[in-house]
Subunit: 306 residues, 2 copies
């Protein structure tokens, strides 16, 4: 079983409007909604790849109920809280294709609720082959939360991937996660460097055993204790990048759980991320494209000295 943790689970709502004009009233022509938050997205992709997946984190209120009802293909071990789970609203302008995002903050988690989660997490980790810790922290959760969760997983001998940003990432890295997967902005914020090769090495020195940085359409760059690689899709492709980073995390974990070496992990991550960009539905991946891309992702060894 692979465990994914989503402390600030969301109901992701997408509205399509003919054209977004501030201060006007808009008739929404199309509404879609589904469970969101990075950990639930990673879990959905892992389940689609055939893994046993358990999802945990917090849900509450009417929105939490809607999130739970829409979970499919994963084991629901979410912990209830009194506050309401957040919605995110993505408003897509049909004229330009641009998206305007509105993100609710999420429930205020009490100390007792956080303690209850730690108990559930400790039990689940004991039965997991890998753990993904993903996304932002809801109000009330201590900023060092991920550091503690990383330590619990490491103490249990379970490999752990951390995908977050800002201070929770900075603190989490110090607890020595097996993999972090920042995008270039998150990596620059962590290390102060905008040069990915240098920054990935710096992030390793801060504690991460492996750093896999996502560089958008250019693919991934990885710094690990087994070597350094770049992995890139065969061509620059047009599409919707929403969820591509979560698909990359799922690819890394999936291949890690299967005991594959780093180049194969990176190939799977880039193929999944690219197949997500190519999918007509944001956050889903196109299976035919994925299988075809597995043979076409280029992985090259980086030989530059650190």
């Amino acid at each position: 079983m692979i465990l994914t943790v989503t402390l600030n689970a969301a109901l992701d709502i997408t509205y399509r409007v003919p054209a977004l004009r501030p201060h006007a009233a808009h008739r929404v022509t199309d509404v879609t909604e589904r469970p969101g938050g990075k950990g639930l997205n990673v879990g959905r992709v892992l389940a689609a790849l055939g893994h046993d997946v358990t999802v945990t984190g917090f849900v509450g209120g009417g929105t939490g109920r809607l999130i739970r009802e829409r979970l499919t293909g994963v084991e629901d071990a979410l912990v209830p809280v009194a506050g309401p789970s957040r919605r995110t609203v993505a408003v897509v302008d049909a004229r330009t294709g641009d998206t305007t995002q509105l993100n609710e903050p999420g429930p205020l988690v009490t100390a007792a609720e956080w303690a209850a989660f730690l108990g559930v997490y400790g039990e689940l980790v004991a039965g997991a082959e890998a753990v993904a810790l993903c996304g932002s922290l809801p109000p009330g959760v201590p900023v060092g939360a991920y550091a503690g969760l990383v330590r619990t997983a490491r103490a249990a001998g379970v490999p752990v991937l951390l995908d977050t940003s800002g201070e929770p990432l900075r603190r989490g890295v110090a607890a020595r996660p097996d993999i972090i997967k920042p995008n270039s902005d998150e990596l620059a914020e962590l290390t102060g460097s905008h040069e990915p090769l240098k920054a990935t090495q710096d992030a390793r020195r801060r504690g991460a055993r492996a750093v896999v940085a996502s560089l958008g359409a250019e693919g991934l760059v990885a710094a690990t204790d087994e070597g350094r690689w770049r992995a890139a899709p065969p061509a620059r492709l047009r599409g919707n990048p929403t969820g591509a980073g979560d698909s990359a995390s799922a690819g890394l974990l999936s291949a890690l759980a299967e005991g594959l070496p780093w180049p194969a992990r990176l190939t799977r991550a880039v193929a999944l991320a690219t197949a997500t960009v190519l999918s007509p539905t944001a956050g889903d991946f196109d299976r035919t494209s994925y299988e075809e891309l597995l043979g076409r992702v280029g992985v090259t060894t980086e030989v530059t000295a650190a």
Copy 2:
């Protein structure tokens, strides 16, 4: 019992953001939500005035469940449908105070669901002292829906107020409702005239027994078979006009149910609408202001020939 009908009930969500910028991501700093749709708003104000209120119309899906859970002070006779009730999202820009509105379309109502509603409505009307038919029609409901609902109420001898717009208003007026309460745009669309006194008379000729037009901060103008009046607040007041029209409808129905003459009905409507503008919470009315305003609304007889 006063019956209010909301065929396209909504969950009204308000988001406060520091500043709305298209194509950016926004952290929502404040979230409020409550049942909406004009009929539910009118029902809430009537209940606050001490009336027995029953609300009907359609609700469905997870949003419908949230609407029902949040109804307070009214009898819930909403009819379930398979499709999901709509959300409306009002995004308030904290810098300018301006609101950008996103309105979902509402559930697709089937012929069988419409027939089920007509059965419920017929039973409820028989026990009602007045009926309010309010708001837009969800997809699938016939455009002549309000005309039929007006006829049912009239056949039962129950006075009926109609507050809608466009073709549903045009058709509904022909069925001879006791009161229609258009705003100046709706009245101009119905009659082709932008001159309220002329237009209210024209709308009476189309079938409405009484026409009460809301002119925003200038108050109301009424054309009835007992005379014509203007009713205005004592001063132009700053505030949020959201829900003021629904409060005016509630005032008209409340005074009608108590057997008060037209000038007293208009006084109550203007006092409630003004106290709604003055309330810090959109759509609620400030009770102290309301009671104080009852003595200060000016009602004048219109003597201009039609």
